[in-house]
Every structure is written in structure tokens, then in C-alpha cells.
Subunit: 199 residues, 2 copies
């Protein structure tokens, strides 16, 4: 069976960087944004739309009563979300079958549980997450610290809801992971080689 490493991460904690460096260090395949591109191809939805869907759990609305019929206004979104999730699961399993790999996000720790992955969760304190977001922000739009904090909280809230919805587990709960790494004061280049050996 191939060796699979999955990485859950708080927004701005550098989880993606750890994932990429780990894959380099171990000579494993690395999957992150490629997953969105591939799902978009397979479902014939735009990448941007897929990205929106995979960051949010489907929103079930209460049925709206119109005349004598019930109309669920969000049916099509729910169906699309489920279809994208199903495609994503299929894709992750294809990756896992193909070679040793590192997969960032996408509930991969849960979806690939039969492959006994090594599950990492990466987190950090608020201040260092804001600093990391600032450094990598290529939008060109200046933001205050408060705005970054709001953004981080909102993205993580959606990640948590998405994860909890599809896995029935709690996102970030350390029992779901083999190792949790606090990157607040950490130097990635120091951590990764030893983490790789530990795995």
C-alpha cells in the first residue's frame, strides 16, 4: 500500500508550505490546488465555482411552500455540492492508488482512512497567521490586521463546517490526527526533514 500523508491546516498557518516541503523531502507526489483543477475538468464546472463549492458544505434551506407544492430553492446547489464531493473522493482514492503522496485539505484524512494515512494538523496563533497572510497576499489590496483576522476566521469557520458535515468528526480536534504542529515560532526548514523521518 502506498504511503499517504494528509494535512489539515488553519488558514495562514503554513500547512501548505509544510505539505509541499514534506513531499519534496520524501519524493512523494503532492496534491493541493491540482485537485480543484481536476474536479473542474471532470464535472465541467468552472474552477472558480468548484473552489466555492469545496470550501462550503451544502446549505440546506427549509422547503418553501408555493401553492400546493414544496419548493426547495437550493436543490440544485445541494446536488452539485454532493456531486463535487463524490468526484473529489474518487479522485483522492485514485491519487492514493497511484503513488506515495501528500494531500492538503479536502477531508483526505477521512476519505482515505482505509489507506491508513499519516495525519498532520498544522495550526498557529492569530498573530503569526496574520503575518503569514500579509506576506503571501498578492491581491494588491491593503488590509488592516482586523480585516485579516476576520478573513482567517471566516475561512476556518467554513473549513470546519465543511469537514464536520462530510466526516461527522470535528475539524482540528487533535484525536483525528497523528501529529499536530504549532507553527507560531517554527522554522519550516528546520521542522520538515525531521518530521519526514518521523513519518
Amino acid at each position: 500500500m502506498n504511503k499517504i500523508i494528509t494535512i489539515g491546516r488553519e488558514f495562514g498557518s503554513g500547512g501548505r508550505e509544510i505539505g509541499r516541503k514534506l513531499a519534496e523531502e520524501l519524493g512523494f507526489a503532492y496534491y493541493d490546488k491540482e485537485i480543484i483543477t481536476e474536479i473542474a475538468k471532470r464535472t465541467e464546472l468552472s474552477e472558480r465555482y468548484v473552489k466555492t463549492i469545496v470550501e462550503r458544505r451544502p446549505v440546506f434551506s427549509y422547503p418553501v411552500h408555493v401553492g400546493r407544492s414544496f419548493l426547495n430553492v437550493n436543490t440544485s446547489t445541494v446536488i452539485q455540492s454532493s456531486a463535487v464531493y463524490a468526484e473529489q473522493c474518487k479522485l483522492l482514492k485514485e491519487f492514493a492508488e497511484k503513488s506515495d503522496c501528500v494531500i492538503v485539505g479536502r477531508c483526505a484524512d477521512y476519505v482515505l482512512r482505509e489507506y491508513d494515512p499519516f495525519k498532520i494538523f498544522v495550526y498557529a496563533d492569530e498573530k503569526s497567521k496574520v503575518e503569514r497572510c500579509k506576506k503571501r497576499d498578492e491581491s494588491g489590496i491593503e488590509k488592516t490586521d482586523k480585516e485579516y483576522i476576520k478573513l482567517i476566521k471566516s475561512i476556518d469557520k467554513n473549513r470546519a463546517k465543511y469537514y464536520d458535515f462530510y466526516t461527522g468528526q470535528t475539524w482540528g480536534d487533535k484525536l483525528n490526527y497523528d501529529v499536530c504542529i504549532n507553527t507560531t515560532d517554527a522554522n519550516m526548514d528546520d521542522i520538515v526533514p525531521h518530521l519526514a523521518k518521523m513519518i
Copy 2:
């Protein structure tokens, strides 16, 4: 400044084993039960009594109204708990000043925060904690799994209350630690050398 490693751990997770092996691997001093013995010596309380105190936060009772006076029935215990905690803090700082060291428990991550320790939290799932407890139980008294689970929960509840009371933080909250390690399926001998290098 000396290198300090602190280890918080769930009961039965093998945190003590990781601590001892890490200290061996790194050639650091190791402090665990020695702390109780030393406090007992310094406070002239029995080791058994100190052990009871350092596993529990002081219990404040509501003052009892007797005639015209208020009587707090637990005053002496509270004073003793605080005295023991103060002695413990002093002792931990002496250890930190003396040499590189690994310290298990005792809120050392918080008490020694000025020494910038590397803070580890060790945890595991219930089943593996029960198995570990069974293996190392030298009491000779046979217990059911249910009884072990009750024991584990009760000890961890006290640890959490003690830690939360003295540090104002939440015991086991991953943000208080640099690395959290799940020992459920882990082989300590595999983990420790690489963890040592990572630190």
C-alpha cells in the same frame, strides 16, 4: 539559556515514556516523580500527601456561618496547596537554571514560560490508553475496561482542573503546545529519535 522540554500528557498515553526516552536521547536531565519527593522534603509533608495535593487544585468551600463568625472549613488545605504550588514553581525554576532538562507535568510549560521551553502534549484514544494502563498496572487488583476508563477520566479531569486553575489556560488545548503527539498507533522507539532532532 538551557534547553527545556515540557511534556503534558493524558493518563495512559505514554507521555512519561516519551519524556524519559527523549531525555536519554538528548542527554538531558529528567524530572518527573523526583519533583514530588523533593517538594515533600522541603515542605516536610509526606510524599503521599504532596502527591494528592499536586494532582488537585485547592478546593474553596463556601464560608460556613457559625454564630457570628465565618468559618472556612478548607482554609488549611488551600494554604497547603498554595504553599506546595509555590515550592513547585521554585523547584522547576531551579531545574531550568541547572541544566538542559525534560520535565513531565506540573504545569511546567506555563511556570517556565520565560525559559521558552519546547512544549509537547501527548495523547491517545481511549482504547490504547486502557491497554497501556493494563500493561503497567502493578497494583495486583484486577480491573475491567470500564473501571480503567473511569480511572483515566477521573485522573485527567483532575489534571485539567489543576492546570486550568493555576495557569488560566486550558489543559490539552493545542495552542498551548508546540507539538501534540497521538500515541494511539505510534511506536515510541521510532518517534523519539526524530522528535529529539526536531526539537
